[in-house]
Amino acid sequence: MSTIIEIQGVSKSYGGVVANEDISLTVEKGGITGLIGPNGSGKTTLFNSVVGYHPIDAGSIKFEDEEISTFPVQKIARRGLLRTFQQTRIYGAMNGVENMLISLPHRKMKFLDAFNRNSESDYEKADRLLEFVGLYEKRFLRAGSLSFGQQKLLEFAMALMNEPAALLLDEPTAGINPTLINGLIDRLIRANQEFGITLFIIEHNMRVIMNMADKIYCLSHGQMLAQGAPDDIQNDPRVIDAYLGAH
């Protein structure tokens, strides 16, 4: 497998607080990579650095061998690197289908394509993906009236609609009803295998991430603590310390 995201020696601090210090990691194309760590260990900061929400202090971030660490958000998104938000962001005033149609991959469109109406196949694709995440029955409801978990699923479906090359998911299972988590894991794996989307996931739920990821990185206090296959991470005493020992 080849590398799709390559992070090299990235540091980021806010004022005096060091959020990321000399982080290096790689995400393999077509795989599922996990990023774990206790609260405040700098996971979301790292995500934000990758997708362009703030400048980084040092280091390099490459996406498909292109340096993206100085690009603004839209430009990175148009390369096919997408993220979902920890606090979901959907268009609350629009219904589910409209939310899906707005997420069509604009980067693959020519400018004049914008002046067409959505085609029959666009609607079909929206319906198919809504069914895939289990929101088909609710597709005409105002998205803002959906529950938090459903909004999260909608956001995931919107990301799939966009046909990204790689998708960064910030805590996909947080706030989701535990009985639905198994279904979500299944869908994430299917998205990875059937649609060929590389996943890079921040996750707190150990069971979830251990079941999915091929490789896991663990951050602690802004530094890379451990990396390896799920089994190695699970048994790594430093990781256990970081989770149990940290107050």
Binding site: V51, V73, Q74, R89, Y91, I102, H106, M109, F115
Partner: protein, 345 residues
Amino acid sequence: MKKNTVIFYGLILAFIIVAPFIFPDFRTQLAALWLMIIVAMTWDMTGGQMGYNSLGNIVFYGTGMYVAAVVTIALAYDVGAYTNAFGGGVYKFTDQQYFLGMLLGILGAGVFCSIIAVVIGFVTFGLRGPYFAIGTLGVAIAAGELVSNWEWVGGGQGIALPVYPGDLDTGKVLFYFLFAVTGVVLFIFLKWLYSTRFGAAINAIRDDEEKAEAMGIHTLRYKLTTWAMSAFFVGVVGGISAFQLIHFEPLETAYQTINLGIFMVVCVLLGGKGTLWGPIIGAILFHVFKEVTWNYFLGWQWVALGALIVVTVVYFQDGVMGYLAHRKPEWFGVRLDDKKAEVSQ
């Protein structure tokens, strides 16, 4: 289209065509109403549909006026000499020069304003929210000040165009229909535009621009295009106004920041932002209110207008359409429970 819709639009169109003949005394008034409707609809393109509240769209109106005037004059004479001889010189225009100037001037005004919008937009669309409003207001004020100091186009005295060569009444009908055709074209254009992906994309920018960026939508491109299209129509009606008013000066007529510049915003708010009909309803309400009450205020008109703005903004911000959407959501295709969702489609 459904039969009712056809009848509805047919009736409106018929009224538009016969209106200047059944109300011959109100031709200028009706033209002014069209102007209000058009600028309100164009303001809503950015303000209502895209969420970028400009206070400076008047810059396109003023620029449109000047472009139309300069093009018409330049076709026949030297502009500097013409404006220099303001009031004194004898400059005659043949019918051919007049109408050719009108055609090229009005279209040129639209095209030029589109270009201006793209150029200004590169800067102002980096600004969000209130900064955008203040920035565009600044652009409008600056444009007026600069033009009023620019002697080549007549400076603070303004510029005068030739009078319509035919008789006065035909002229009034002509100007009415110039505005009316522009308005109808704009309405059809917007109805189509808002039904395309483009419409959805600018709505997405309004609702959550950061999310739209994160989904890879070319936000700047959409914003510039929308503003350029909006500016085209404002420039065109500016050009028509220039011919209709014959003489205009920069600060009070062309770049009238606190008159038309703010009226268009009030119209849209009165009628309801982000809807196709809202600006039209708002413009009619506002125009009627303004014309009916104007004479009773005895010099207090402008105070009353300021008060109207405050009252509209404070108490009636969602406008007529917003009120209806709140009371009758089903009219607007909003579905609130699962059952209805199953019935349709």
